[in-house]
């Protein structure tokens, strides 16, 4: 009788371990990942408010307090200042080069990701409207 229970226990344990090894994540994972995300958002906030992204000391936040008026939910869209349909990061680069008189970032640079994370975080909850001018 004990052997049977033990065997069942082992089978259950094996089944439990096998099911965890697949695509499951726990609440603890989510909390940890959320912290990772927030750390990048914070990094983005730091970049957004620093005058060091360009060469003239101007910060994104000077014209865009709390990233207002950046309209990330409207991208991709036709951008008059570039003459074609673009994604948000290309407009970030436009701002880095034009009002901030600096150099563009690579589209996958960590700083670019951080800026995008901050901008979208401040705009969370707003419905998507790609293409809206």
């Amino acid at each position: 009788m004990n052997k049977k229970i033990a065997a069942l226990a082992v089978a259950a344990a094996v089944a439990f371990v096998v099911s965890l090894g697949a695509d499951e994540f726990t609440k603890k994972d989510q909390e940890r990942w959320e912290k990772e995300y927030q750390s990048v958002v914070q990094k983005g906030r730091g970049l957004f408010t620093s005058g060091a992204l360009g060469t003239n000391g101007v910060a994104c936040a000077q014209c865009h307090p709390n990233a207002a008026n950046t309209h990330p939910e409207t991208y991709p869209k036709f951008q008059k200042q570039l003459g074609r349909v673009i994604a948000l990061r290309e407009m970030i680069n436009w701002c880095l080069q034009q009002p901030l008189e600096g150099k563009p970032l690579a589209l996958d640079a960590p700083d670019m990701i951080a800026l995008e994370a901050y901008i979208l975080h401040e705009r969370r909850g707003v419905k998507l409207e790609p293409g809206k001018h």
Binding site: F78, Q81, G83, R84, Q97, Q98
Partner: protein, 385 residues
């Protein structure tokens, strides 16, 4: 069997002809459809009449100057290399105004005509040079109407096109015909168009591709010299002070502007004033809009065929495309370090382009020449004399 074949061939020819007719009305590569006003539709006969009127020298005080004098077909409809256009001769010397003759090519895409946009249409624009003292020098349009109503070379055409003869022929009909002809002078299909709209990677050199990247990014050109996803007219149809000419009259601006406002100001009178006095000419768009915003502002030119339509700017003061790019690179002054005028468009500022980058941008501008003008001399780097 033969009959069927014949029928098929005939049908094919018909389809072919229909297809060609469709191509004939489709805009050139890179351009949108030509705007045609509802009250002035295009017909081949009207266009032919317009061409004749455009080239007729009798419509001037001396019988020597036509529209085609300053807008010569084989010079891409300009009078390159003249800085400012030369009209009738007086005392053996040609009179001249203050402004450079813009090309008629692609002028159909402008919302307003003239450097300061004082004319709302091609039809209206053609009225003015006839009666400007430094252009055709006529006192009024009567001499033109006299010829149009009596010369057999014209009377048949006016009747056929407009159903009008004798006194019923007015400047309305004359200008509508001229405008119809001008609306056929559109050209695209440049190397840039083939590269950008047909994905032909071989159409541009590597240098020109770098130049295009500068055009859109570091050079800041595309906001005014508009390129869009499927077409490129290279103008925003707006007026901007880019620091040409006005820098010389900066201190006089308040007095000039005040004088101008106190003086008479019908459209026809403005036409005479701005071509007659260089200092007044520098007021630019302000002369029309009476708005601070227009001070020293001139209409954004199209850049199509720019390499073969020198010299440049409203006063023809810049001779090569390289000099033009240097002017922009300096932030709106022709000589680096000169003081910038107070009313400079806020889109203009120093660009920080290196010498190789300037050359790249100039090379790109050469890629905007359409095939029909490709054999004309280019003023990209050296002055065309």
């Amino acid at each position: 069997m033969k009959r069927i074949l014949f029928g098929l061939v005939a049908a094919a020819a018909f389809v072919g002809a229909a297809a060609m007719a469709a191509d004939a009305t489709a805009p050139p590569l890179g351009l949108p459809p030509v705007p045609i006003p509802a009250d002035n539709p295009q017909t081949p006969e009207k266009i032919a009449l317009g061409k004749k009127l455009f080239e007729d020298k009798r419509f001037s005080a001396t019988g020597q100057v036509a529209c085609a004098t300053c807008h010569e077909a084989k010079k891409a409809f300009t009078d390159s290399p003249l800085r400012t256009s030369e009209g009738i001769k007086q005392g053996g010397k040609a009179l001249t105004g203050t402004r450079n003759a813009p090309t008629v090519v692609n002028a159909a895409y402008f919302v307003t005509q003239f450097w300061d946009g004082r004319s709302p249409s091609l039809e209206d624009q053609s009225l003015h040079p006839f009666v400007n003292p430094v252009e055709m020098g006529l006192k009024d349009h009567q001499p033109i109407l006299k010829i149009a109503r009596s010369d057999p070379a014209y009377t048949k055409a006016f009747e056929q096109v407009f159903g009008k003869k004798g006194a019923a022929i007015t400047m309305n009909e004359v200008t509508q015909a001229i405008a119809a002809f001008e609306r056929t002078q559109v050209s695209g299909d440049s190397p840039f168009d083939r590269y950008y709209f047909k994905a032909d990677q071989k159409a541009l050199t590597d240098q020109q591709k770098r130049g295009f990247d500068l055009f859109v990014n570091k050079g800041r050109c595309v906001s005014c010299h508009v390129v869009e996803q499927n077409t490129a007219v290279f103008t925003d149809n707006r007026f901007h002070n880019i620091g040409v000419g006005i820098n010389n009259v900066q201190n006089d601006v308040p007095a000039l502007a005040g004088e101008f406002l106190k003086a008479k100001a019908t459209l026809a009178e403005v036409d005479v004033k701005v071509l007659g006095d260089k200092r007044t000419s520098e007021l630019g768009r302000f002369a029309i809009s009476r708005n601070f915003e227009g001070l020293g502002g001139f209409k954004t030119s199209t850049l199509r065929n720019v390499a073969v339509t020198s010299p440049y700017m409203h006063d023809g003061s810049i001779k090569t495309l390289r000099d033009v790019v240097v002017h922009y690179n300096n932030g709106g002054v022709t000589k680096e370090g000169d003081p910038v005028n107070d009313f400079l468009s806020s889109g203009i500022r120093p660009l920080g382009l290196t010498d190789p980058e300037i050359d790249d941008l100039v090379a790109f501008l050469e890629a905007l020449t359409s095939p029909e003008y490709a054999s004309l001399p280019s003023a990209a780097r050296t002055e065309v004399k």
